[in-house]
Amino acid sequence: MKAGRLKQILLLTDGCSNYGEDPVAVAALARNQGVTVNVIGVLDDQQRGEPQGLKEVEAIADAGGGVSQIVYQKNLSETVQMVTKQAMNQTIQGVINQELQHILGERKTIEELPPEQRGEVVEIVDDLGETCQLEVLVLVDSSASMHHKLPTVKEALADLSLSLNARTGSNEFSVYSFPDSKHTITQKVAWTSELSAMHGIFQRLSSGGYTPTGPALKEALYAFSKKAIVRDEQGVVDPYEETGF
């Protein structure tokens, strides 16, 4: 089996959306378009317990077919790479489960195979995770309450690129932030394979009390499809575009 191209949106936020359409619905739409949505809720290191606003985190990731995690700032780097890799494996497993159903003609997942066969299938999943192409659009909530966490976010993203670039498969990242008064989201870093040198990307931020997570996710989804159009115009042949494989 050949590895394909996997697309993910990674949303980093610390609060509840309070403006525009329902982010859970947009995440479901993204999933339908072949884009997985992962969400990380970032807590202050002194914060205790899970604040009300972060309940949404799990719901968005569930609808987006992705992984969610609520973490303290200091654990952000570890979590960002773990969530991204886990979501990647989850997507690949999903595709393999479909294949299994095709072959075996019944509803059977990897987990239901006897251990011997399961051992062989997980090696295939692992191989695909190592070799597939990965596109990650990072969407950073940079509303006022997130400002002091942004240096940590920057570090975590550099670390993510370090982890993923150790793979055999290629990676592309881009970073967007929201809210933006004119266009909902602003591109901070254009598509690149390295996220290590991002000087001053989170300067000149707008502050304001509103968090339009839903509209921002939708714009991120548009940004993905624009990228695909650019690729098509360049005449890149990509037979796996539709399903990710």
Binding site: Q69, E78, Q86, N89, Q93, V122, E123, D159
Partner: protein, 304 residues
Amino acid sequence: MKKPDFNLAAGMAIRGKWGHHVYHVVRKLGEGACGVVYLCQKNGVLYALKVGTESSRLMLEVNMLKKFSKVQGVKLGPSFVDVDDWIVNNETYPFYVMEFIEGQPLSVFLKGKKKEWVGICAMQLLSDLEHLHRSGYVFGDLKTDNLLVADSKVQWIDVGGVTAIGRAIKEYTEFYDRGYWGYGSRRADPLYDLFAVTMIMMETVYPNRFDAQKDPKKTLQDKLKSAPLPSEYKKIIAECWRGKYHSATEMKEALGQVLMKRAQPPKRSSRKSVQTDASEWGEMIGVSAIVLAFYGISAWNLWL
């Protein structure tokens, strides 16, 4: 990421769905990255049993265990025993069973011992790594949590991070990860493990570990400078970070030279009492015997 949210009580029976073997829980041993490890017994024999929720990760570990129970006639890590699913309350939990290694954590073992032991333990690790690297793999998540000392020999007990050379390191822990400190990539090559060995040596004098701060490389250099380790070890650690050693063998030889040198009779210091001198001597002889034994084993392996 998720761990089974149940606590298994002593005496509880874990029955395999496929193989029908029954294991009785004795007590909890610890928690790993993707599961909980219990001491269990079957027909009077003790085993370590890891139960988790993420079937695919457990299966990858089983594949590694099977592969590395024996590499080139050398046993690396615990032996594989069984793999199965356990159904309880309509939920399926995958589990696997391996040999139970009874030992002490490295920090406990080293307590009150002379600093030579840090070098010896590092050499033991490097000897095992030599074999692993030669077979095309790196250990990856090499850290004290994944080690036990049994019969004065360091053994690794969790092979979940073992990665084929050239691939992305499967699992890592920041403190031991060269990428975190700015000393290289997270792609698996033998030097990735050598870096982790130096961090295990550092940890013996910084048991609470430390963070990278603003400038990771500088933090690490400063910590090395002020580390209460013998200067010969500090030199080897610094050389390893500079990329002087290209294999576990080279680093092991460098450590070996230091240890052999130290085995020379120390200069008599007049202030010390005869008694401490004698006990020190005893330890020195023990140390050199173990070092010699090591050379013997590796020479023998090479011969084969």
